[in-house]
């Protein structure tokens, strides 16, 4: 079983683990900073102190979340050098400068104004404070733009040319405007907003559920419900667009995400597997529950449109199938679930069930919002699993294989660092939950 524990596999596991840990934090940083900007704008416009208290309360959660995001993000940047030296050497000319832009254009902006946003209330005027908060929000969203652009370039590598074994830039804007970029950036950015909607909504729902500080949390709850009307259907639309981009540019990933083996012959439709059990050695599914013509309809918008199957590609170019297939289904299912939860909430609102006197009685609805908090993170994680595992065996799709990209380190070294990361991050995660619970339980402060 040497392939299971060689340095390539261990580096992959380490990157997957540290990335899956890291992504938990920036999603909320990006969305919550925008939410706080909104609260500060409302406060400056209306001078209603409830908005000021909203901004202060959510900022406390924001800073706790932000710090873990930053410290877990630094290892992401440096792991390209430590564990993926082959990738950095070959692809660094393009990928590296995109990360450089992220650091100088976005990360620094976010970091510099962070101090004022969190501790500067008494040091700067309220409009200046709003400006600082806006810069933090802008910085974190720009950061998402560059990171997603760099990642999208690994999926649809454009604007590069091989020169003496290195894949170097052949144009300035070609790598940035690669075909996956618009979908990758928008799908992820809206995912950040969606997670924030359910985190703010879920915490507010917990207070409403217990009948504590009802007026305060009804305000934040209604604000995110209104946002959800836009965000949840938009995310389904963007997900569909991303999927069709995958079909066009990464047919092996689409094949894995759908466990689709045979290209449908002309005049026949490709069926969509609701659930299936893929069998790699048979190059087929052991069993599947299918919807006839479903896949053709989803991808090509016609009943008999052609969708390439995995069998069209040599075995060594096929990604693992089970993980992308089921991750994708979980993510997609959750996306629809969040949409239905939004509809249900709107219906309850229309029926007058969100009035402060009666909202605490809506136990099922409020409980669903609380459950949506972890589920929204699950949707992000499973989406990333489908995206990254589905790109395999390539690190840069069609250009460089993951196996050639890893640093030639002894397996015990990578194994040890992986174990240490796992240990420290687990402790960090538990501590974060404890402190977050403390902040949430304590609730908003009365005005000084």
């Amino acid at each position: 079983m040497e392939t299971l524990f060689d340095h390539v596999m261990l580096s992959r596991l380490q990157f997957a683990f540290t990335a899956m840990f890291h992504i938990l934090w920036p999603v909320l940083t990006i969305g919550l900073s925008l939410f706080i900007v909104l609260m500060e704008v409302m406060w400056l416009r209306s001078r209603n102190e409830v908005y000021f208290r909203q901004a202060r309360f959510w900022t406390r959660l924001f800073i706790l979340n932000f710090a873990v995001g930053v410290v877990s993000g630094i290892p992401m940047e440096f792991q390209f050098g430590t564990n993926w030296s082959g990738f950095s050497e070959t692809g660094g000319d393009i990928f590296g400068h995109l990360l450089g832009f992220e650091a100088t254009m976005a990360f620094m902006l976010e970091a510099a104004f962070m101090g004022i946003m969190v501790w500067g209330w008494k040091r700067v005027s309220p409009p200046m404070h709003l400006f600082a908060t806006s810069m933090v929000a802008l910085g974190s969203s720009l950061s998402a733009f560059w990171i997603m652009t760099a990642n999208a370039w690994m999926q649809t590598p454009a604007g590069g040319i091989f020169d003496k074994g290195r894949f170097v830039a052949a144009s300035n804007f070609g790598p940035i405007f690669n075909s996956d970029m618009p979908w990758a950036v928008s799908h992820m950015w809206v995912a950040c907003l969606e997670v924030t909607v359910f985190v703010v909504g879920g915490i507010s729902a917990w207070y409403l559920f217990r009948g504590r500080k009802v007026n305060f949390f009804l305000k934040s709850f209604k604000a995110v419900v209104i946002a959800a009307i836009l965000i949840t259907p938009l995310q389904i639309y963007l997900g569909d667009g991303s999927g069709r981009m995958v079909a066009e540019t990464q047919p092996t990933k689409l094949g894995a995400m759908e466990s689709h083996w045979r290209t449908n012959p002309p005049g026949e439709g490709a069926s969509w597997n609701l659930v299936a059990w893929p069998n790699r050695s048979k190059q087929d599914n052991d069993w599947a529950i299918t919807i006839p013509n479903g896949l053709s309809l989803l991808i090509t918008r016609s009943l008999t449109g052609q969708v390439k199957g995995l069998r069209d590609f040599p075995k060594e170019d096929q990604p693992p199938i089970l993980l992308p297939f089921y991750s994708f289904r979980i993510m997609m299912g959750l996306g629809f679930l969040f949409f239905f939860l939004t509809l249900w909430t709107l219906w309850a609102w229309r029926k007058g069930r969100l009035k402060s006197a009666v909202v605490s009685g809506q136990k099922k609805l409020l409980f669903s919002w609380m459950a949506a908090v972890p589920l929204s993170y699950l949707a992000v994680e499973t989406g990333w699993i489908a995206r990254e595992v589905g790109r395999q065996p390539w690190i840069i799709y069609g250009v460089m294989r993951t196996s050639e990209a890893a640093s030639p380190l002894p397996a015990y070294t990578v194994g040890s660092s992986l174990l240490i990361f796992a240990g420290i991050y687990t402790v960090l995660f538990i501590l974060f939950l404890l402190f977050a619970w403390y902040i949430v339980y304590k609730g908003p402060e009365a005005l000084e």
Partner: protein, 331 residues
């Protein structure tokens, strides 16, 4: 030393690296001092003196990392994979330090998180010392690939570099505390600052000498014109920086020690860089030069245009935020 875009990029990145070393080095130094401080009140001042800006300072490391990755991909890939163990240690140290500052605010066990902050700072400082040491000691690269082992950095030369770096950080930390603290804590910091400044001077002089003996091309610069006219003034000026540092400490000035300390660090770095030029990864047999390590011409130019626009903006807003938090920290 002829002009090249790669050389210009090295200068830009070196500037940011120095900025990081001074601004976050002093933070790591304060962290190490915190570890050895017995008083709760002192620790509070120490942590709060950094509270607002440590995060911005640390971000310069991310900037240096990103620019280095883009402008010198080969250097980036070789440096961090060859020095895997110090690099991972640094990351873990920084993670631990960052969350300790964060949790310190929320937790009731202040002592525990102040110690965590100190321990994280010490690990990160040691690891950064070993990263620099491992690089300066030479990395065995053949045909663009690292051919050594993961333990190559463990040698006397790199341990000396590591010790100089950690001592240098503590010195910066002392001088920063002199600026930020007042009263008893400030008084007690002056003698410490003098001791650590002296230690830093001795260690870095020894390091500079050893580096010159280790690399023949560095030593030759002292014997040939025009190289002598670059390396000698930088060395003399670095020495002068230390003289001014001692003078300001003895005269008990508040802001001057940090300024001269930063100047001495920058000039010392400059002297060492000139000595090792044009090798970017020094090695007695198979060095990697600046131009070999650099990205393509197109990427270097494109990055230059973009960062050229960004740098003034960055300097403007970071100065603004530092100004917003200037002044003394009280217990």
């Amino acid at each position: 030393m002829e002009f090249s875009i790669a050389g210009l990029w090295l200068a830009i990145i070196s500037f940011f690296l120095l900025y990081y070393v001074v601004s976050d080095g002093l933070g790591l130094g304060v962290g190490i001092l915190c570890l050895f401080s017995g008083k709760e009140g002192d620790r509070k001042v120490m942590m709060e003196s950094l509270g607002y800006t440590w995060h911005t300072s640390q971000t310069w490391l991310v900037v240096v990392g990103g620019l280095l990755f883009g402008a010198f991909p080969l250097f980036y890939s070789i440096l961090f994979s060859a020095l895997y163990i110090p690099a991972v240690l640094m990351l873990l140290g920084l993670v631990f330090r960052g969350v300790s500052i964060d949790f310190h605010e929320h937790s009731r066990s202040k002592r525990f998180w102040a110690m965590g902050f100190g321990a994280g700072s010490l690990v990160a400082a040691l690891a950064q010392g070993l990263l620099l040491g491992g690089l300066l000691a030479g990395i065995d690269v053949r045909g663009g690939r690292f051919v050594g082992t993961v333990w190559d950095w463990a040698n006397p030369f790199s341990f000396l570099v590591c010790l100089s770096v950690v001592t240098g950080y503590v010195t910066l930390g002392c001088n920063f505390l002199i600026l930020k603290a007042e009263g008893d804590l400030q008084n007690r910091t002056f003698p410490k600052a003098i001791v650590f400044s002296a230690l830093t001077l001795v260690l870095s002089a020894a390091l500079f000498l050893w580096a010159n003996l280790r690399y023949p091309h560095a030593l030759e610069k002292w014997l040939s014109s025009p190289d002598l006219f670059y390396v000698a003034p930088a060395t003399v000026l670095a020495g002068l920086g230390f003289v001014m540092l001692f003078r300001s400490l003895i005269r008990r000035r508040e802001a001057a020690p940090l300024f001269w300390n930063a100047a001495a660090v920058a000039l010392g770095f400059l002297a060492l860089s000139i000595s090792l030029y044009p090798q970017m990864i020094p090695h007695a047999l198979s060095p990697v030069t600046i131009s070999e390590a650099a990205a393509s011409h197109r990427t270097l130019i494109f990055m230059l245009v973009v960062t050229g626009i960004l740098i003034p903006v960055m300097v403007f807003y970071t100065t603004y935020t530092y100004r917003a938090f200037r002044g003394k920290v009280r217990a």
